[in-house]
């Protein structure tokens, strides 16, 4: 049996990671099979990551599940896929850029569904024919995607019992449907053996307490852990799954979710609920965030804590609704009219969606300020096998006034800028929350002195905020540093590990707290650095511009960026570092 070369062998020669993609037209069940394969990997003790791509059609369009199964945790896809399997080829060629292959890759296609697209064949990948549909027909009620599942699992060397558990869990009703799925999957396993090729992944390193979760689910779980008990939102790709996870979950913990008529309503609903004392959140994507801007400013002026999770997709306008881009940084930082100090937080891995969202709720509540959480389609819709996500650092709860407090002033000018908030129901301290500028009591005021005093107060809350070590992920040593955020962090981390293995040491600074800026902390993190590579997935270099505006960057600064939706791969980041080091 020949062994296909997979990524980066361990000391014993066995690869630590294998990447496979399963494609087909919508309704062919490639996501279902992909989820089962991921779960089987999890059951076998491997880590895994499944990202997804799909065409614009609601149903019937092409789709692909892209999996990476590995012995160590990875927050991004690898440079190449070892296998592309397709139950049919309808328009799958459109994904060529997202499913990079090379001469060492395999293409598995059903000969009855036509030849693989030329764009894949010209990579030089080996082509194998597997009649998925005909094989499935050998089983009553069998489906081609289950045959493909068996073939891919067989190629990856996943144990049959792990696969059976994964298929059984997805077919909880059991009976004939389960039996058919198992039988079709076993046909696939046999087929894999007959192909005479396999990957010999290094043995798994099972660990306790691992989770199987998507970034959107993690953000939802983080919201509830942070204390969110009211959610209002309008459906939008790719944030909808976050809301669909929350809809049943929030009721179980005593909260409420309302589907709003539009994003203008959802942001105002959460302002109303939070004014009523209930920590509140909405989730959206770029177009929705744009609609919310005016009311986010109300949250700043009236000092009402709220959290908006923006699962970024490509823009401007409708852009590519189903695909990722880090291009809402500008609007998140600067979208509001007036001077409107607020918080922007970016989770830097799938698992970090939990802690970062929880943290954002904590900051919003303790500072009485709106917070925007910037995730993206890549993180949000990725499903992964991860170590149990960390908890966010604890922060003080919302500072509530006391019933009957004498001389109560809602917007009192305190040293740290945070003033006690009266909550409806508390007697003797009623006030009106107002988007009009106001004096300390909340009484509307058009006086310059009140405006200056309240602007200072609102700015002071953020200037004095101590985020602790959680402001960024700072890793490694060396005189070169990658500064990045969000979903670019995973590939950057992997590129640095490769560089280190080759004797090139470099640092990683992944900014979790994007606003308020932390110039002293970044200066410290970059001490001794003479080269800074700013890495981001947008066209204009929004992070670079933000860094230029808010920070003094040491030495030479270069930008590595491109618009979505293609994620950065570790190899191209590594190549950039290598070339620069030789310059």
């Amino acid at each position: 049996m020949a062994s296909i070369q997979a990524t980066r062998a361990t000391a014993t020669g066995a690869p630590t990671s294998v990447s496979v993609a399963l494609a087909g037209s919508g309704g062919a069940g490639v996501m279902t099979a992909g989820n089962m394969l991921l779960e089987a990997a999890a059951q076998a003790g491997y880590y895994g990551l499944m990202t997804r791509t799909s065409g614009p059609q609601i149903r019937g369009g092409e789709a692909a599940a892209m999996l990476r199964i590995s012995t160590v945790a990875n927050d991004g896809q690898d440079d190449r896929f070892q296998v592309l399997a397709a139950v049919d080829w309808q328009n799958v060629g459109r994904f060529a850029a997202e499913i990079p292959l090379d001469a060492s890759s395999l293409i598995l296609g059903d000969p009855d569904q036509g030849a693989p697209p030329e764009v894949f064949l010209k990579t030089g990948a080996q082509r194998f024919e597997v009649p998925f549909k005909r094989l499935a027909k050998q089983v009553s009620g069998g489906w081609p995607n289950m045959v493909a599942l068996g073939v891919l699992a067989g190629l990856c060397g996943l144990p049959e019992d792990a696969l059976e558990r994964a298929v059984s869990r997805a077919n909880r009703k059991g009976g004939e449907a389960l039996a058919a799925s198992l039988a079709a999957m076993r046909l696939g396993l046999e087929q894999a053996r007959a192909l005479g090729v396999a990957f010999t992944l290094a043995p798994p390193q099972p660990g306790p307490g691992r989770w199987l979760i998507t970034g959107n689910e993690a953000a939802g779980a983080g919201a509830l852990r942070g204390g969110v008990r009211f959610v209002a939102a309008y459906p939008i790709t790719p944030a909808t799954e976050l809301l669909e996870w929350l809809a049943p979950a929030i009721g179980k913990v005593g909260g409420t979710l309302v589907q709003a008529e539009d994003e203008l309503a959802s942001i105002n609903m959460i302002l109303g609920a939070s004014y009523g004392g209930v920590p509140s959140l909405t989730a959206t994507s770029g177009p929705g965030l744009a609609l919310m801007m005016e009311s986010l400013g109300l949250g700043v002026a009236a000092e009402i804590p709220i959290v908006v999770v923006d699962v970024m997709r490509t823009g401007p306008s409708t852009g590519i609704a189903t695909k990722s881009e880090q291009s809402d940084l500008n609007i998140a930082l600067h979208g509001m009219h007036g001077d409107a100090p607020h918080v922007v937080v970016a989770p830097n891995s799938l698992a970090d969606c939990l802690a970062a969202t929880q943290w954002a709720v904590g900051i919003a509540e303790s500072l009485q300020v709106p917070a925007i959480v910037l995730t993206d389609q890549y993180l949000g819709q990725a499903r992964g096998v991860v170590d149990e996500p960390a908890r966010a650092p604890d922060l003080p709860a919302r500072h509530r006034a006391e019933t009957g407090q004498p001389d109560y002033r809602r917007y009192a000018l305190t040293e740290d800028g945070v003033s006690a908030m009266a909550i409806p129901g508390m007697a003797g301290i009623t006030y009106t929350a107002d988007g009009l500028e106001h004096g300390e009591s909340g009484r509307p005021s058009s006086q310059a002195s009140d405006h200056a005093a309240q602007m200072d107060k609102r700015a002071r809350k953020l200037a004095g905020f101590d985020p602790g070590a959680y402001w960024a992920s700072v890793e490694g040593e060396g005189d070169t540093a990658i500064v990045t955020f969000g979903s670019c962090t995973g590939p950057a981390r992997e590129a640095l590990a490769r560089a280190q293995a080759g004797g090139l040491n470099a640092r990683l600074v992944s900014l979790r707290l994007l606003s308020p800026a932390q110039p002293e902390r970044l200066a410290q993190a970059l001490e001794g650095v003479s080269r800074v590579l700013v890495l981001e997935q947008n066209h204009s270099g929004q992070l670079l511009r933000h860094l230029r505006a808010e920070y003094d960057l040491p030495g030479e600064v270069r930008s590595l960026r491109r618009a979505g939706p293609l994620p950065f791969h570790p190899g191209e980041i590594h190549d950039t570092l290598l070339q620069w080091s030789r310059a």
């Binding site: 307490g209 691992r210 105002n268 302002l271 007697a427």
Partner: protein
């Protein structure tokens, strides 16, 4: 100032000491007075009442009461009030708006608030003009009314808020006139008590930009028929109505939003089990 719990509250217990920005003779003074009378009649505590508004002359009302107030952005008062009431069903929530704030920029929220039937009282002070921006036509302005922004008039048919409220599902519909503060207070009292979304349109003259509205006091009349709970009958009445029939026009029977919601009290960490695939297998 709040009176001690044992003493009966009077209207002035619900008034703040802020001086309104309204013009002398504005109908909104009377509406403020009617709101405080209604709250006193219901013997609600000021701290258990929230008054939510958007932007415009009428939307200044929250700070003139001694209740909790929320003076938000233009057109979104119903959304803010919906969130507040959904999160805090124990509160009595009033929403104050005008014909521009409520029917133009906030028109979509009006439709969906009626549909959703949250237990709110929506008070719209309708003067057929944008007063705060000094005299532009609103959705209820007559088509031929000339202004600087529409010198020939808009030529547009007026918006019929009561018909639309009925069609969209409002549970209680009434019309009031600011020139009759006691009658208005009685209507508001009933509207606040009534479950679900209660809509009270109050004709409230703008004496500055629409001085001819002083004549409304001669035009209004008590509605000649008893309120109905039959939407078809109410629709016929409201469509043929000339806009000056005062009183309760419709009392519906819909169940308010959230009335049947059940909330658990589990800890968020209890949901983690679904993500732990090993334990869950």
């Amino acid at each position: 100032m709040n009176a001690p719990d044992t003493v009966a509250l009077v209207p002035k217990d619900f008034k703040s000491d802020y001086k309104p920005v309204w013009c002398p003779g504005c109908g909104d003074y009377s509406v403020l007075s009617s709101i405080t009378k209604a709250l006193a009649a219901l013997q609600l505590r000021p701290e258990n009442v929230a008054v939510v508004s958007g932007i415009g002359c009428s939307s200044r009302i929250p700070a003139y009461t001694n209740c909790y107030g929320f003076h938000g952005v233009h057109g979104r008062s119903l959304a803010a009030a919906t969130g507040l009431k959904a999160a805090r069903p124990d509160l009595t929530v009033l929403v104050a708006s005008g014909d521009g704030d409520g029917y133009s920029i906030g028109g979509n929220h009006f439709l969906h608030a009626c549909r959703r039937n949250v237990d709110l009282t929506y008070i719209v002070m309708d003067n057929h003009v944008y007063g705060m921006t000094k005299g532009q036509p609103s959705p209820t302005t007559e088509p031929a009314w000339p202004s600087k922004l529409s010198p020939e008039g808009t030529g547009l048919r007026e918006f019929h808020p009561l018909v639309i409220a009925l069609a969209a599902g409002a549970n209680f519909i009434a019309r009031a006139f600011s020139g009759d503060p006691n009658g208005t207070a009685a209507l508001l009292t009933e509207a606040i008590r009534y479950p679900g979304f209660s809509f009270v349109e109050i004709l409230s003259p703008c004496v500055t930009f629409r001085p001819e509205q002083r004549a409304w006091k001669e035009a209004v009349r008590p509605t000649p028929v008893e309120p109905t709970d039959d939407p078809a009958r109410a629709a016929r009445r409201l469509i043929t109505d000339d806009g000056f029939n005062i009183g309760v026009l419709y009392r519906g029977t819909r169940t308010p939003f959230g009335a049947t919601a059940r909330r658990g009290n589990a800890a968020p960490e209890s949901l983690d089990a679904a993500f732990r695939f090993q334990e869950a297998s």
